[in-house]
């Protein structure tokens, strides 16, 4: 059979341990599996549901569906994910002066935006892909269309 001398045995053991350590480290760095989330918006300036949950660092595919019929009047919305602790009321006031070409995100709050959809029109659907924040906590979701946030169009992404 195999005959190993002492030196070879030590080297082999070290190599096996190193390999195990590398695999363990690699596994620890793997991101959580991707998650698909659905959010609906409507004519009552609501997000439904008002609370979404995902794992920290997970790739998120967020589908936003406008519940109003496409053939009816249009009431556009956006979906904007903000950093934890963002002054949401301040954001709601600031968007009153925001421009359409900026997706109604006021310049003063641009750094607070983690992800944002384009406008979703009545009967339409948009998807926002982003990586969930690595720090657990509650992250505000708002509509940046002027007035909607002030009227309570808010939700929260709970990162676990």
């Amino acid at each position: 059979m195999f005959a190993l001398n002492k030196t070879t045995g030590v080297v082999l053991s070290a190599a096996i341990l190193a390999a195990i350590a590398l695999v363990a480290l690699g596994a620890a760095k793997l991101p959580p599996p991707a998650v698909e989330l659905d959010l609906a918006v409507n004519e009552r300036f609501e997000f439904m549901p008002a609370r979404l949950v995902c794992k920290a660092g997970a790739p998120v595919h967020l589908r936003v569906t406008h519940r109003m019929p496409a053939r009816g009047p249009d009431l556009p919305h956006t979906t904007v994910l903000l950093r934890r602790g963002t002054d949401v009321d301040g954001f709601g006031n600031a968007v009153l002066g925001a421009r359409a070409e900026d997706n109604y995100v006021p310049p003063a709050f641009r750094a607070q935006v983690l992800a944002a959809s384009s406008l979703v029109h009545s009967g339409g659907q948009v998807q926002v892909d982003f990586q969930a924040p690595s720090v657990p906590g509650d992250y505000p979701i708002v509509c940046s269309f002027p007035g909607h946030c002030l009227l309570g169009m808010k939700a929260v992404l709970v990162v676990e």
């Binding site: 004519e43 009047p73 009431l75 709601g92 009153l96 269309f145 002027p146 909607h148 002030l150 009227l151």
Partner: protein, 153 residues
């Protein structure tokens, strides 16, 4: 023998007819010039359709004389008309959608919050301010639509 003079060439019966005719003409004139709503019916409200300084002044004058009429603001061609009003605390403001598109009216100021919700063509909403101050009513669908409201005690 001299026939008694009848004066102006009408009998007393024709005098009565003339007076009634006069009243009828005046009544018709008043009715024809009364304020009307979008569907043409007579309205007891003050309807202001222009955005001139004159219309604002007229409203203030009416308020100062103690009238408490509802002020009607229209939403037409994606604008509030008038764009500036002055009202008293407690006086109702009716917002009438005379456009052929969906509108909204909202106002958020401190603790005061009003939202008409989606306002279909031909419908109206009403809001009342309970505190004096300056407010801005907007449309949550058309961001450029703005109505400046000054509420006086």
């Amino acid at each position: 023998m001299k026939t008694p003079s009848r004066g102006f060439p009408f009998t007393s019966r024709s005098h009565v007819s003339l007076v009634f005719t006069g009243f009828a003409v005046i009544a018709a004139f008043i009715l024809s010039t009364a304020p009307r709503t979008a569907n043409g019916s007579a309205s007891p409200y003050v309807v202001v359709r222009t955005d001139t300084q004159e219309s604002v002044t007229r409203q203030v004058t009416r308020l100062n004389t103690g009238e408490s009429a509802t002020v009607v603001v229209t939403q037409k061609e994606k604008a509030f008309l008038p764009t500036v009003i002055e009202i008293r605390v407690g006086q109702a403001v009716e917002i009438l959608n005379e456009d052929n598109t969906l509108h909204n009216a909202y106002c958020v100021s401190g603790d005061f919050k009003y939202n008409s919700g989606p306002q279909q063509p031909g419908t109206k909403s009403s809001l009342t301010f309970t505190t004096a101050g300056s407010y801005e009513v907007r449309c949550a669908i058309h961001p450029k639509m703005r109505l400046a409201v000054t509420v006086i005690p």
